[in-house]
Symmetry: D2
Subunit: 215 residues, 4 copies
C-alpha cells in the first residue's frame, strides 16, 4: 500500500491534503506538532529515526506571525530558519523516497510577490524553493516528481487571523472568495491518482488569478 | 452535458486531451484544420459562427517550423502572428464561456526560456500569455478558470521532427525520457473532474524538471 | 565619431536619451515620425536604405492608446504588431551594428506585470523582449551589448494622458513621484560612457521600487 | 563628503567597487574580514557600534565553498545563514542610511538559475533578495535607492577556484570571456555619479548574456 507523510497534517491545507489522499486508499500519516515540530531540529531527527522512508512526502508547515522588520529578533530569524528551511532540508537529507514517488512542497505566493507583513515567510520559503528546484533534477533520475504549490489566500485559520475583515477582503479578490483547502487537497490527490510524473521542478501559483506577475 | 472544444484536437497534445476528457463523459469537439485553421482569421470567424459557446475551451495549436532569425520573412511573421496570437484573441473576443467553465492554453516552456530555433514561437506565445493573464482576472468574476500549461519536451510528432536524435536527446533530460501527451491530457482532465477552480491565472511548466529558471 | 540612432527621439524618454548622449560627444540621430514610423513597414524599409549602420541603436516607440480588450479591432492589433514588434524586428534584420556597439530597448514594466488598460503594449512588448533576449546571445559574439530597460511610471506626455490625476497617483508611488526621463537618459549614457559591456541580455525594471514581483 | 561602506572591499568585486567610488571623490571604507565578518553576528554588532551611519552601503560577501547537498552539515547551513543572510539583515536593522543614499546588494545569478554546486548560495542569497525587495519600498520614501546586482561569471579569485579550466569555460560564454570586476565597479559608480535614483527595487543580471531566463 502506498504511504504518505503529510507534515502539518492536523489542520488547514495539510489536513485537507491528508483527507483527499485517504479517499484514494493511501496510508496517510498526518503529523501534528506532537509527531514532528520542524522548528526543532531534535524533534525532526527523532521523527526521522522512526520514519526513514515514504512513497509520498508533503512538506508543509504553518507560517510565522507577522512582525515588523525592525522588531524581528535574532531568535525569531533562527526559529523560522529552522521551521521553514532547515527542518525541511534535514528531512530531505535523511529520508528515502521510493522510486516513482512524489514530494509536494506547500510554500506561498509571497515567494514571488513578497510583502512586508510576511517578510520572514517570503525569505525562508524562497530559500527552500531554491533547494527544492535543484533537488528536483536529482530526484528526476529516480522518477520522483517534485511539485511546489504556492497558495494565495486560502480559507484557513491562519488567514482568518492574518486578515482583519475577511468578508471585505474577499470582495477585492478576482474570484470574490478565498480558495478552499480541499481544492489544493484534491489537486494533489489527482496528480498522484493519475500518475502524472512529468510535472516536476515546477512552482504552481494557486491563488484564484490574484497574483499580478506574468509567470 | 458538459461541452469542450479542443483546438488542434486531431494529433499530439490536443488529441491526448480530447481522449482524456471523453473518459469523464464530456462532449468533446476535437477540431482539425478542416474545422478551424487559427492561422486564417476568416476560418476562425466561420468557426465562431457555428460555435459561439462552450463550457471548456482548449487553446492549442502546432508551432512554426524552425527558421533562422535572419531568414524569417514578413509573411512568416504575419502567418504565425495569426496562428499563435490573433486567432486565439479573435476566439476569446467572440466565444462565450459558460459560468464555472475552464480555458486551458497549451503554450510552451520557450516563453520562459526562449531559444533561437523557436524564436517565432517564443515571441507570439509569450504575447498571448500576457493577454491570457490579464483576461484571467476578468474571467474569474464568472468563476471561469484560466490555466496556461507550458510543456517542455513532449513525445509528439513535432518533437520527433525538431530533434535530430531523440534517443540521444532523452539521455540529456532529467527524467531520461520525453513527457507523454497523455500526462498532460490526464492533468487537464483531473482538474476539471475534481472541480478545482482556484487554480487560475497561472503558467504551469510541464517539463520533467528540465527548465533551469527558479520559477 | 560614435554614432547613435534614437528612435522616437523627438519627445519623452527618447528625447532625454538623445540629449544625454549628446553630452558625451556622440553624433545622435534623434528620429521623429517624419524620419521613421515603426508602425509602417514601408517607412521602416526606406529608413534602413539610408541608415544601414550604426554604433548605438535605441529601440523606442510610443505605446498604443488604452482600448478595452473587447473593443480592440483586427486593424488595431495589426497596427501595433507593426509598431511594437515587426518594425523593430525588420530593423534588427537589416541594420548593421558596429562591433563593440550597444542596442538599448525601451520597453515597459507591463511586460512583467501586464494590465488591462495596456494589454496591447503588454503583449507585443513581451513578444519583442523574447526576440531581443535570443539575439543578445548572438550579438555577444561581436561584443555588442543588448540592454532592455522596462520603465515604470515616468513623467512623459503619455503618462499625463494615461493617468487622470497625476498628483494623486504620485502619492501612491513608493518614491512619491514619477521618474524623470533624464534619469533613463543618464543611465543609458553612463553605461556607454563607462564602456560597461558585460551588462547584456538583461531586462532592467526602472520604476522607483513600484513593481511587486521579486525579480 | 559622501561616505561609502563597501563590505568585502579588499578583494574581487568589492575591491573594484571601492576603487571606482574613490575616483569620484567618495570617502570609501573598504572593509576586510578584520573590520567585519558577516558570518559572525558579534563581529557585525561591533562593527555597527562604530559605524552606525553611511550615505552609501555595498552589501557584498564571498560565497561558500561548493559542497554536495547530502554532505552539508547543520553547522555549514548556520554559518552561511549568518554570512549571506542574517549578517546583512542585522546591518539593515541597525545602520542609518542618509536620505537620498544608496544601497547596493551584490548577489549572484544563481538566485534565478540555482545550481547544485552553489545550492547554499542560491538559497540564502534568494532569501536576502526577498528582504531587500520588501525594504526597497520603505527606503524609497526617504529617496534611498536599492539596487540588487546579480553577477554571472566574473573574473575573480573565487571563479578561478570554482572553475577547473577557466580558458575552456570562457569559450562556452556568449562573450567568450568572464566579466571584469571593474565593469561592476564602474556601473555602481556611474549610477551614483549621475544621481540616478528611480532605479530601485530591481535585480539586475550582470552576466554577459549568459543566463537563459527571459527576465
Amino acid at each position: 500500500m502506498t504511504r504518505a507523510i503529510v507534515l502539518g497534517g492536523s489542520r488547514g491545507i495539510g489536513k485537507a491534503i491528508s483527507e483527499s489522499l485517504k479517499t484514494i486508499d493511501i496510508d496517510v500519516f498526518a503529523t501534528s506538532k506532537n509527531d514532528i515540530d520542524t522548528s526543532n531540529l531534535d524533534s525532526v531527527r527523532q521523527f526521522l529515526e522512526k520514519n526513514s522512508q515514504t512513497d509520498i512526502l508533503i512538506l508543509n508547515t504553518g507560517g510565522p506571525a507577522p512582525i515588523p522588520f525592525s522588531n524581528i529578533t535574532e531568535d525569531n530569524w533562527k526559529l523560522y530558519h529552522n521551521q521553514l528551511f532547515l527542518g525541511f532540508v534535514t528531512i530531505l537529507q535523511n529520508i528515502q523516497i521510493s522510486d516513482g514517488g512524489y514530494i509536494f512542497l506547500i510554500s506561498s505566493n509571497v515567494i514571488k510577490e513578497p510583502n512586508t507583513k510576511l517578510i520572514i515567510s517570503s525569505a525562508y520559503r524562497a530559500a527552500f524553493t531554491e533547494v527544492f528546484k535543484v533537488l528536483s533534477k536529482e530526484y528526476a533520475v529516480k522518477n520522483i516528481s517534485c511539485v511546489n504549490i504556492a497558495p494565495g489566500p486560502i480559507n484557513t485559520d491562519r488567514t482568518q487571523e492574518l486578515i482583519e475583515n475577511v468578508k471585505e477582503f474577499e470582495k477585492t479578490l478576482p474570484m470574490k472568495r478565498l480558495g478552499e483547502p480541499k481544492e489544493i487537497g484534491n489537486f494533489v490527490k489527482s496528480i498522484i491518482e493519475n500518475k502524472i510524473k512529468y510535472l516536476s521542478g515546477v512552482t504552481i501559483n494557486f491563488d484564484g488569478a490574484n497574483s499580478n506577475y506574468i509567470f
